[in-house]
Symmetry: C2
């Protein structure tokens, strides 16, 4: 199959560029002590995770949902799984406990006693032991217990609770990973992660175990990942990238795009293609147009991209057009497969096995 | 199964409210001459389409993609299908031709000679006859041939081309359907659709057939749908509604929401729940919070909604929270099933059979 035969809209991956991204990240962390724990939520695609793990410098995978962790286990990608999120809601703790009982080294984030009790109860019921990282709020207004004494108190509770095992702490400096100015990003990331590190020291000073200190993302992999005491970085986007991260000074290449077909050229300065926002997320803004100088997305609707063109462009109905999404995770989550390309040749059609909520499909 | 047992995030439908919406729309068009052609793209769910068709006042279904039309045919929802979109791109015309050859009365939108030639060639190759509506640009900057003489010229070409049959014209006043002020919406919709109607008259004056004049949406169903000469309205959102259309003076109820679970209450004035933008689209803005006075979505991230709460709220980790999406179509497109509720009882789990790109899953 060739590129021009792919039904559109569709996601296409430049395999060579992706492999370069994977090798760059592996080379950066080669020898440790900090390693990368690639975030599976970015692509939800077993074939990509296998290549990330095979490249080395990895310590397992990060997941955002229980459904992703179940796919990681079912596909035997790794037994070392961190669900970097609170596991709360109908059936979720029991599903994590089942993963642990089946032999996976599963760790979850906990930021409340209620959440802790829930996972511990399920873990005991399954005869398992689930690992726990205390989730420390380091500035992103979302989840996380306050750094310092409140986090230490929760760690003490974890250590005293049967069915779970305290493994360490995590924090996500998500409020700074996208800052374009490097000096400011570095200053603010350092300040945020220092809160996590000082909490880790307090946990150890209290005589509690804290082998894992997990943080970071693609925007801070070489800042947070160089701070003494951080043991792993939860980077995801680096492997395929997006136009938001491309604005930063990170050495990763745009390795995927949303392939579309021009449906209409109703006027010289405009066309409409079939890769709208059901194919390309816009939560981080409009996508960029690949390989057409002067072209710009005017707006996306459900099934259309309306694109401004230089009037001299010869683009016509039936021609291909590629968009670079502003945000990788939700864009990939819209599709069921990735078309892997070497040049114009489709060398694989990779299932996005953990797309959406796999537990809904298992019914 | 009860509401509190549904794994989150998940889409839940208030079946009674949905049925009232369906009956209201059917009652409005009862007796014609204009009928509703419910837009399948809004929900992509065969069970809902069946109920819309069973309520009467319908003339088949509208689809936005070939994949949706294939699901409509495979599920035997109706044989009367309008793909209200240009069918351009690898394999698409051939797939439409196969639907026509298998007996479906399929109509597609055409706005260029290239698009016409493509569908006609595929139709002849399949020994079929595909219906064509000339897609007329009525103001939305997207697809569509210019009203008046250019549209008539294209209609003439359709009539002269073997393998296709001219059925009429369509236009979508999408640039005005969301205007909140009714007088302005009415004035601008009337002006836009008058372009379509005058084009239809010119087509007939040229001795060409024009049995179908298709336009409209939920925001203009009672404006465009009352204009003499319009034969059908392509309304979709009315059946379940969203917070954007709820701002208009349309008599339809919010009948679905994105059910989530509170993961964390890190501070009195804020919580984080698990229904982020991978579960609830934000292309029309943030969702609203259902049933909690004073609560407001601050921002959505991939897997989290960060929500401002009145400090006196007792909401805690493990509690349910429901969001009303700002846009129905892309929100439903994120999920595989709808949980149908009567009160707190789950009375059905409906597959969103045409979610995403079904042709990718058929591989």
């Amino acid at each position: 199959m060739k590129l021009h035969e792919i039904p559109t809209p569709a996601l296409v991956v430049d395999v060579a560029a992706m492999e370069r991204n994977i090798r760059r990240m592996a080379a950066f962390y080669a020898g440790g002590p900090c390693l990368v724990r690639p975030h599976f939520k970015a692509h939800k695609t077993p074939e990509i995770a296998r290549r990330q793990l095979a490249a080395g410098s990895c310590t397992g995978l990060t997941c955002a949902t229980v459904g992703e962790a179940e796919v990681v286990a079912a596909e035997r990608l790794t037994g070392d799984i961190l669900i970097a999120n609170e596991v709360v809601g109908p059936g979720k703790a029991a599903r994590v406990a089942r993963l642990a009982a089946s032999g996976a080294d599963v760790k979850v984030a906990v930021d409340s006693e209620a959440g802790l009790d829930d996972i511990a109860r399920a873990s005991r019921a399954a005869g398992a032991e689930v690992g726990v990282l205390v989730d420390v709020g380091v500035g992103l207004p979302r989840c996380g217990v306050a750094p310092g004494e409140p986090a230490v108190a929760l760690a003490r509770r974890v250590e005293a609770t049967e069915g779970v095992r305290l493994r360490g702490v995590m924090g996500y400096e998500g409020h700074v990973v996208g800052i374009e100015d490097r000096a400011e990003r570095m200053a603010r990331a350092t300040k945020a992660v220092e809160r996590l590190l000082s909490t880790a020291r307090m946990v150890r000073d209290a005589g509690l175990p804290c082998e894992i200190v997990s943080a970071g993302g693609t925007g801070t992999y070489d800042i947070t990942g160089r701070m003494a005491g951080v043991t792993e970085i939860q980077a995801g986007s680096y492997v395929l990238m997006d136009s938001a991260y491309a604005k930063l000074d990170v050495p990763f290449e745009q390795a995927f795009s949303v392939l579309g077909t021009v449906l209409s050229r109703p006027r010289p300065d405009q066309c409409a293609s079939d890769n709208g926002h059901k194919a390309c997320s816009m939560d981080h803004g409009n996508p960029a147009v690949k390989d057409i100088d002067g072209a710009k997305v005017l707006f996306l609707s459900d099934e259309h991209a309306t694109i401004a063109l230089p009037p001299e462009s010869t683009l016509a109905a039936g021609d291909r057009i590629e968009l670079w999404p502003s945000h990788i995770d939700p864009t990939i989550n819209l599709h069921d497969v990735l078309y892997a390309l070497e040049g114009d040749e489709v060398v694989g059609v990779w299932p996005i096995a953990a797309r959406g909520y796999p537990e809904q499909r298992a019914r």
